[in-house]
């Protein structure tokens, strides 16, 4: 059994209002070393695949077809062997 951890963020160059506000807030609070913030989404899937390569292919499809909008978002994911979700 595998678990897919999927990280979705806005593409480079796409304005991220949430990230911008968080950065301003961090500055105000004194965290001066933070120079950039990007806000994104995290999705975890539990997969019944037996084969890691097949799981990877399917997660790729899921990301492309449903989880992200390729006009504005990009993604990366990791597939791990794990029983805890």
């Amino acid at each position: 059994m595998f678990i897919a951890n999927i990280y979705i963020t806005l593409k480079e160059g796409v304005f991220d209002p949430q990230g911008t506000i968080i950065k301003h807030s961090l500055e105000t609070l004194g965290f001066k070393e933070v120079s950039e913030v990007r806000m994104g989404k995290f999705v975890r899937l539990r997969l019944n695949h037996q084969n890691k390569e097949e799981a990877k292919k399917e997660v790729e499809q899921i990301c492309k077809k449903v989880l992200t909008n390729p006009v504005i978002e990009t993604y990366r994911f990791e597939i791990i062997d794990s029983l805890t979700f």
Binding site: V14, F15, P17, V71
Partner: protein
Amino acid sequence: MRFGIVTFPGSNCDYDCYHAIRDILGEKVDYIWHKEISIKNFDCVILPGGFSYGDYLRTGAIARFSPIMQAVKEYTEKGGLVIGICNGFQILLEAELLPGAMLVNKNLQFLCQTVNLKVENYNTPFTLRCAKERILRIPIAHKEGNYYADEGTWPKLKENNQIVFRYCDEQGEISDEANPNGSLFNIAGICNEKRNVLGMMPHPERASEAILGSEDGRLIFESIREYVKKL
């Protein structure tokens, strides 16, 4: 003529549109449940505003997989008129029936206010009744209306005159101050290349009778009617 209004789970402007078409415009109108698989005997299909599927994942992202959307796609390919209002616009973008995508408003707020709109293209089935140089006053109500298109897309929008509405001030001037949500080029509405699919963030059905403060939205529905009757 007959309008069809698609109801998704979470649509909440479907009845407003129904009222505007039946009681104000005086035309026939029916609801189309999102699980329907065909569109028959309709002259124009409206994807109404609301929060289809709770806006989960992204606005319009789940609704685009509703069974009716395949029929909507086929309907547009045959030249059928489709207008997506607010959430309906977001669904059309996710379904790739219109180019681009929506980002969260620049100020992160849900905006509910009347805006001024400049009609940039009068030569569409949706705007042919709009008098030249007339500024439309129609309300918006959204949090994800910050239109975005990448550099491979927006030059084509301009070239093909697909930008239909832009946010402006009372004098019709386009400026950053008149841009409520941060949309690229103040875009409030666009159409496809064939001109038979329109997406707009403002709600014409909420500005179709004097008691609501503006009748400008009715021009959109009257344009559609005039276009259909000329066919």
